[in-house]
Symmetry: C2
Subunit: 449 residues, 2 copies
Amino acid sequence: MQFAISEDFLDKIIGLIEREDRAELTIILQDLHFADIAEIIDELNLEQAVFLVKLLDSEKTSEALMELDEDQRDRVLNALSPKEIAGELGEMDTDDAADILNDLPDDVAQEVINQMEDEQHIEDIVDLLRYDENSAGGLMAKELVKVNENWTVTGCVSEMRAQAENVTRVHSIYVVDNGNKLKGRLSLKDLLTSSESTPIKEVYIPKVDKVNVNTTGEEVARIMRKYDLEAIPVVDELDRLVGRITIDDIVDFITEEAEKDYQLASGISQDVEANDSIWDLTKARLPWLVLGLVGGIGAAAIMGRFEHMIAEHAILFLFTPLIAAMAGNVGVQSSAIIVQGIANDDLKGSIGNRLLKEVLLAMLNGFILAILLFAYTFITEGGILTASAISVSLFAVIIVAGLIGTFVPLFLHKRGIDPALATGPFITTSNDIFGILIYFMIAKTIIGI
Amino acid sequence: MQFAISEDFLDKIIGLIEREDRAELTIILQDLHFADIAEIIDELNLEQAVFLVKLLDSEKTSEALMELDEDQRDRVLNALSPKEIAGELGEMDTDDAADILNDLPDDVAQEVINQMEDEQHIEDIVDLLRYDENSAGGLMAKELVKVNENWTVTGCVSEMRAQAENVTRVHSIYVVDNGNKLKGRLSLKDLLTSSESTPIKEVYIPKVDKVNVNTTGEEVARIMRKYDLEAIPVVDELDRLVGRITIDDIVDFITEEAEKDYQLASGISQDVEANDSIWDLTKARLPWLVLGLVGGIGAAAIMGRFEHMIAEHAILFLFTPLIAAMAGNVGVQSSAIIVQGIANDDLKGSIGNRLLKEVLLAMLNGFILAILLFAYTFITEGGILTASAISVSLFAVIIVAGLIGTFVPLFLHKRGIDPALATGPFITTSNDIFGILIYFMIAKTIIGI
């Protein structure tokens, strides 16, 4: 079993495209999984990619399009006519088609909709367009298998067969009443193990997990993870069944969220990848670096106010990078724990308790580190006063840094702002400034200048 | 629909436990999902938790045990007798039971195995114990539905029904030959839409994604994500079907990996949560802080070697926190992009090309930042020589920091070490030291002391 495209195979495909050998390409690619075809298209230049998309069946390319790197997909779609895009969308699941339409310019999207043929499919897709992308409505697909509670098992098998043709994977069969209200579900396992003459009303499971169209993506992910669900039905405000969300979409959602948080913690502000252009990478990285530069200038300005001490107490200045680094490290540790706790929805207790715990934790860490630093400075530099000044300041800086790292994400979250913004460079930079200010103020007091 | 336990409900449960009202508790809890029961047990003290676990059916508690916070689970298991643990394990899926046994002390595990009753179940579990936890063998469960290629659809329905009783979710029906070699699969959809008299040999899909018992967890996750799989069969070296991995286990695996990487990038070395004890949190955080302290002391020592310049060029010392911060930020940005690229397996090109790209990127960012810093220092401090010295050094430091941030994770990965170790405090600390060294060396050369 091979789960990746080899260089040789890719070269062969490129050669065939250059020679426009349509027959051979069709034969080679017809058995390939759409995810592999996507991997190939990602490696091609635009002209080659468009050639391949136009050559292959929409059934195959539509699914491959969804797996493409976003930039490459935008370029390919840009090179297709509205009619060709409509052809691809006709083969897609409604949720994927809606995502594509959402990304197109309004006039192109309208033209594509006009070109589509299957009325029901268009209606479903347009219906999905009105939901926020990050809500259950925006994540769901219209494809599902449902039966009426008033049917019998025998009576609904043919109906289900017809519906199943349009659904890639059947997870559950949803049971609705005459008004399309969700009543319960019928598992395939039940179907497998129950007799065909039974009326649906008697066999369906009335307890069914469901979410509302307005439930956020994060909440849907949490629920599906918590209850190990592989699909969840989505209902509207009147409890009518309008769609379902499958776990593969949630896996993508979870992965993207985790990557976004990781990047924010690392000072990268957009969804970029190692293979993106230098320009895209710069756009994602430079703003945080400028923030760091401004913070560093602020720190230099603060140190400048204590410059009169530099001749006699040069040692204080030698330890400023240490103070800044420790303030940054402690702040990032605290904020990361809080951001993760918020994301997993398992923070317990009030903000006050949380800050108290962080103070205790910072005091413990700070005490150990301050002792170590005191020992080092006392032995190497001599002078109990200087050693005390530096280590007591470190102790204080660690506590303040921990508090800032804890408070800021909690505060942002309360205000409805993504707390992950407060990790990484943001905390590091603000803690640098506060840390150095506190450091010099305490050191000055202790040394008594 | 309610997807979380309210405070009031929890208080009620605790009250009933204190009064030992077994009858009422059983009634209230019998309809609750095991994930909700786990959420309740997580909130109880040990005595209350054990009371509840002993009270409820093993069928319910065994699944709840798997959803518990790991620390709480260990405590609860510790309070149960081997016979009671055996009872719980008897109701668990084989993969979960094997995970529990793996975490128990060897002698307790042996005692539990001796107490178990279902021979086949024990055999399956013990079989799973020999695989590495992070391999497909360690992730798979023995529960699956399989049919022989020589049967007919009609002939195997009853067989499948019997097997399905032991499998929580039927994803695919696997087709094997007489020697248990995996031949293909039969989707439930096919079953739904094909006639009962057809022989299996004619309807099964011979193309089936599969992994070997030794495939790593990361690779399994990548394959299941890439191909949107909900379950994947696992075969041994002789291509015999030995188990299957379901997507819910992979969702947990992906989430845990992402959290681990996030924590490493934030300077937290173990799998801790905001609610863990201060002692656990200190153990996870202190080592990285000590590393930062040592780095800071190193930076101070380097600066000490240039102390003779401090009287005349105090300004150089004021900017050391800025230089250290920028070196750290750039390093973390570079390493995070590389670590994520490695995790997603989409790094293209050689290490040389990667480093060249990083140099170009760092030059672009560094040039912009150096110009800004030059302007600031020139205007506020005067002196073209000093302003040049500081800004040229910044430019050089950014390039070196980017190279270190790129090279170290790539190097660790080549050596088979988790590259995520090289993010966060590790990169920050080493970049602080290198940054300050380079800064003073360049500044000294330019100013000409």
